[in-house]
């Protein structure tokens, strides 16, 4: 069965006809040509498809497009605004070389943006010691909160560093350039 829906994708109003079985991910990629979110598993197991849906991070492969008529979707391509500038999280990913093949990266970036928001609003994670208090985003918190986004290239160490930088640009210790040597 087909249904006509509209979505606000990266600031642009888009209208499309979808099979009611079509996921948000496939709607974006195959129907609208928005290929920034990637399909790593189609089962909610890898996070490569992460987008911000109504401002919250979701695995877009687990979302049926037809259920979100009128929703706002932001992908990594639209995070930085219209002028082509990058979001601070994206800048930090570049500075820390928090990517290799780049396939998981749009999902990591969207997930990080959503996660920073969750932490800022005090949502606890599995490793939060005291859920009643403001979240202190240490490395353990970042790792835990980013564990829904797999990276087979193994860029986690740099992803954590990038998110640490983006979360609190003033706090960062260490240099952004890699390659410590003996």
């Amino acid at each position: 069965m087909d249904k006509r829906i509209s979505l606000l994708v990266d600031g642009e109003e888009r209208t499309l006809t979808v099979d009611t079985r079509t996921t948000l991910l496939d709607s974006l990629r195959d129907r609208l040509g928005v290929t920034s979110p990637k399909k790593g598993c189609d089962h909610g197991q890898c996070g490569a498809c992460t987008v911000l849906l109504g401002g919250r991070r979701v695995n877009s492969c687990l979302v049926l497009a037809v259920a979100h008529d009128g929703a706002e979707v932001v992908t990594a391509a639209g995070l930085g605004g219209g002028g082509g500038e990058l979001h601070p999280v994206q800048e930090a990913f570049l500075a820390r070389d928090a990517l290799q093949c780049g396939f998981c990266t749009p999902g990591q970036v969207c997930s990080a943006v959503g996660m920073l928001q969750e932490a800022a609003t005090g949502q606890p994670s599995h490793v939060t010691a005291d859920p009643g208090r403001a979240v202190e985003l240490d490395d353990a918190e970042i790792r835990e909160r980013m564990s829904g986004n797999l990276c087979r290239c193994g860029a986690y160490v740099n992803i954590v560093a990038a998110i640490r930088d983006a979360a609190d640009p003033g706090r960062t210790s260490g240099t952004a350039s890699a390659g410590a040597r003996p």
Partner: protein, 694 residues
Amino acid sequence: MAELLASKAMGTSLRRVDGVAKVRGTAPYAFDHPVENPVYLFPVQATIARGTVSWIDTAEAEAVAGVIAVLTHLNAPRLARSDDAEYAVLQGPGIGFRGQFIAAVLAETGEIACHAAGLVAVGYDIAVHDASFTAGHPGQYTPGQVNGGAVPDTAAGDVEAALAEAAVVLDQTYTTPAGHNNPMEPHSTVAAWEGDSLVLYDSTQGVHAVRQTLAPLFGIAPENIQVAAPNVGGGFGSKGLPHAHVVLAVMAAQCSNGRPVKFALTRQQMFSLAGYRTPTVQHVRLGADGAGRLTAISHEVVELTSRIKEFAEQTAVPARMMYAAPNRRTSHRLVPLDVPVPSWMRAPGECPGMFGLETAMDELAEACGLDPLELRARNEPDLDPETGKPFSSRHLLECFTTGAGRFGWDRRSAVPGGRLEDGWRVGIGAASATYPFYRNPGNAARIAYGGDGTYTVQIGAADLGTGSWTVLAQIAADALDCPLEAVRLEIGDTSLPVASVAGGSSGTASWGGTIIAAADAFRKEHGDRPPAGAATQAAAPEDPEAGRYALHSFGAQFAEVRVHADTGELRVSRMLGVFSAGRIINPRTARSQFIGGMTMGIGMALHEAGIMDPRFGLVVNHDLADYHIPANADVGDVDAIWLEEVDLHAGALGARGIGEIGITGAAAAIANAAYNATGIRIRELPLTAEKFLS
């Protein structure tokens, strides 16, 4: 010794030139390429491990609105050649492993294709299959050669006599399970026939290799096949050569009325169709004198291959060159089974082999009463033990001493189980890493001057996350002695000069060396002030020193682990790798690659294991929920450093390749640390919690 190219752009931590497009997600991977009016393919897979399709009914699938065609062995186009059973897709009713393609649905959308594929009805004549891998399997045989071309067996001296006389003998068996590459980008192909020409967007480690493989299968000239892969979402060997899905996509494009066909394997399908690492059983015997000097090394390996196509992992090969010992033996035996076809996975051979050998060395050190680093120092060979050649550069011990200070090796408790912190047993371990230097033949590069100060540098190389877009530009800038901004690099397309596969950690040396040769030829032909449009193409140079040296990279892996005293949960809190790999072209991307290999090593150590149900020939845990690869929270403080070095005998670049060494020795370092933490020696990967509770 080749004249070394001086570093200007090389050696700098340039940011990835493709980075901006990748953090935005706008860099196109294979399936992302927009094509007009595509057809979507979804395959049907065999649900038996051996036998034949006796009947197949596609009527119900064909009746679904939006289905364009259903291909089976009865109606699929005939290939020009079908001698390679992996590629002989739909050429007959035979089934060689569970998961093999037996049909494919072409439809207007992916949803329709997937739905209709489920409506294809199949009957089988089931044959008795064998998917049980055991070291004592009676069907095992000696392959003609192992991957990489080495002989399967070697022997020197008298191992048995030396073991009988040795003051200390270590005799143990180590096992590693099946590993699945699982690049984050599933294997994907977009295929279109344009008249007699085939155009492919493919997720591959080598566009030219895809062309060379497909041309004879489809009986067309290689020039009539164009393959593009500007961005590749990881491969780790599984995209080194095309697999059956590429053949199926091309075939389907012959039946789609000229429309392009889009086909991405699902994550589940990848477990039977994209290659994987064989499980191994490694019998290691070491003999040493009273001072801990090895008198005998024996490394005997049993592993599997698929019955329909041989792949022989070179697991015992590193034992041939790591340590000095007068009496040595290595062997490889293959058990042929009715299972999916194994293939390359990051550091085939060295990765599993160094788990066995380096865990054994840790055990031997304890038996000799020596510090594990001291044991390595006492067994450092002067010459390559296997070939008798000098090493071009061997700094294994320097890696260990550098890392020991930095990692805090002196904090390691000499007695296992000596450190308990907050309910966690803490331990430190180390292991050697090694990987050979490969430089592949069959490369050419073209350089053209634009007239505006810019040079276009072309080679059909690949970037799978390895940083080729960045480091090849750096090499080209230095080779042309021009600013980096003046280089326009083009890679990842068969319209560019031929390039070897991104495999064997050979890419940078093979392609970079060729770019240097092309730059030399360009300057010789056109001088320092070339006219606009001046262009030169050149092949890689002959290596005048070929065969004179043993060229290998080395490294020292250090790990600190915490094993929970009550639950057995193991966490890797710290890791440090110190590597000696020749010249490092880009420290920023190099560190990422080393760390990436070590992180995959954490996965190998902690949880990766493809579980074969021998009753059905099925990889049971065939998705990312059940086959665990490391997640962010699995990875602690991991760092990699390297020795400042240029290999004087590895061509003008002096770089030996870094893509694979990071995974070698990593699992052994973690297992050795776990022993140091608990006193429990685990010889069967992965190091799951229950093994620490016995």
